[in-house]
């Protein structure tokens, strides 16, 4: 049997180069499998052979998606594979964006089937689910064992051009494609049955989910900046040294509010980051690099805006559940509005 030649895309972590301190490394290529690439080969029962692994740091990839794309395309093209496989990225946002974007590029520009996998909260899903098959995973690597066989099975079907089942059966994110099928009962009958179930409070599955575009209407702009009260908010985890309220480094369960009245500069002696998802060296050295208090004070003094709000709000946005983040944002917004704040500068890492 002919083996399927695979090029595998990994970040620095799964590529066994290092953690956040290595997130800045530019793309590199290695022949053969690396790390989870071995597992991929094993789960395919030896049908898939990873002929090349492309590795790139998460920060480098996320900040230079457009620039690394031609490099990845060239390295993939060089070895003429049957399949391009990225990740899985689970809930890692930067990695997911890179996996989705690279898969889309390889499939569209080189015509090589591509597959990746990630968690539903990953922004990479929206970036590429319409163009490629993205298998749904849990939010951590604990799900690895379950996901690989699914990816292998789906990839095999794509390569064999076997008909692919509905998203729920195969475990991938809906691509927005409509397929004609012959149903046992006609539409009116199915609709009435569904309605009856709904009236009885029984579970039912809609045949046409209404897409929810959660966009927010832009708020009215600040009319007189010279009188406006501006607040700083960050998900970058800047907290007083020692993290007194113990904001978690990962999936934070809370947000906090700290007094900055009379403080003109955040020093590394008094503040630090509690965030577990980026290299903390720069923020710990000078926390203004994440929460720009010193520059905000200069602009306040200059009269560019009226006044800086006396507190800042902070949480850690690292694999934090979307529902929690939405709640924190809503509550912080309400509190700031009540306190007469007119505009918010929000920094994210």
């Amino acid at each position: 049997m002919k083996r399927v030649r695979v090029v595998h895309y990994l970040n620095q972590f799964f590529g066994q180069i290092g953690g956040e301190d290595k997130a800045d490394i530019p793309p590199q290529k290695k022949n053969g499998p690396v790390g989870v690439g071995q597992l991929l080969q094993k789960e395919s029962g030896g049908c898939f052979e990873v002929v090349r692994t492309i590795l790139c740091g998460d920060n480098f990839a996320a900040e230079h998606l457009k620039e690394i794309e031609p490099v990845v395309l060239e390295w993939v093209d060089e070895v003429d594979p049957d399949l391009f496989w990225a990740g899985p990225a689970f809930a890692a946002g930067r990695y997911g964006m890179a996996c989705g974007t690279m898969c889309k590029a390889v499939q569209q520009k080189l015509g090589i089937p591509s597959i990746t996998a990630m968690h539903s909260s990953n922004p990479g899903v929206e970036a590429a689910r319409k163009e490629i098959y993205i298998v749904e995973t849990g939010d951590s690597t604990l799900d690895m064992k379950r996901v690989f066989p699914k990816m292998v099975a789906l990839a095999q079907k794509i390569l064999d051009k076997t008909p692919i089942g509905m998203p729920a059966e195969e475990g991938y994110f809906p691509r927005g494609i409509r397929v004609n099928i012959r149903a046992e009962k006609r539409g009116s009958k199915r609709a009435v049955e569904m309605l009856l179930k709904k009236l009885r409070g029984e579970p039912f599955v809609t045949e046409l989910p209404i897409p929810q575009f959660d966009r927010v209407e832009p708020a009215s702009p600040i009319s007189d900046l010279s009188k406006a009260v501006i607040a700083l908010v960050t998900e970058g985890g800047i907290v007083p040294r020692g993290n007194p309220d113990r904001i978690e480094a990962h999936n934070a369960s809370k947000y906090c509010k700290y007094y900055i009245g009379g403080i003109n500069d955040l020093s590394g002696e008094a503040y630090q980051t509690a965030h577990g998802g980026y290299d903390p060296v720069y923020a710990n050295d000078d926390p203004d690099r994440v929460l720009p208090l010193d520059a905000a004070r200069l602009l306040e003094k200059e009269g560019v805006f009226g006044k800086l709000y006396d507190y800042y709000y902070v949480t850690v946005g690292n694999v934090t559940a979307v529902a929690s983040a939405a709640r924190y944002g809503h509550e912080i917004g309400e509190l700031l509005l009540k306190d007469g704040v007119q505009g918010v500068i929000f920094t994210s890492t």
């Binding site: 600040i222 944002g329 994210s348």
Partner: protein, 76 residues
């Protein structure tokens, strides 16, 4: 989070290094940051220059808060 703040009626600008993610999550006002681990700083330059960079980023962010927009906008 920034989207929810804007939803209660407060203009909010997101300073973020990965603009495509900011767009995907639905932020209305976006300013591109320096880099992921130091969005409002640059450890490679002198302190004085770094503060200037930070000041300029904030000026851009303030401009975003004062701009009337109809849709998601990346402020350059």
């Amino acid at each position: 989070m920034v989207k929810e703040i804007e939803r209660v009626g407060l203009p909010a600008v997101l300073i973020c290094a990965i603009v495509p993610i900011a767009v995907t999550v639905g932020a209305n006002r976006i300013v591109r940051a320096i880099a992921i681990p130091h969005p409002t700083g640059d450890p490679k330059v002198e302190k004085k220059e770094e503060i200037e960079i930070r000041e300029n980023l904030l000026r851009k962010a303030l401009k975003a808060l004062c701009s009337k927009i109809e849709e998601q906008t990346v402020f350059k």
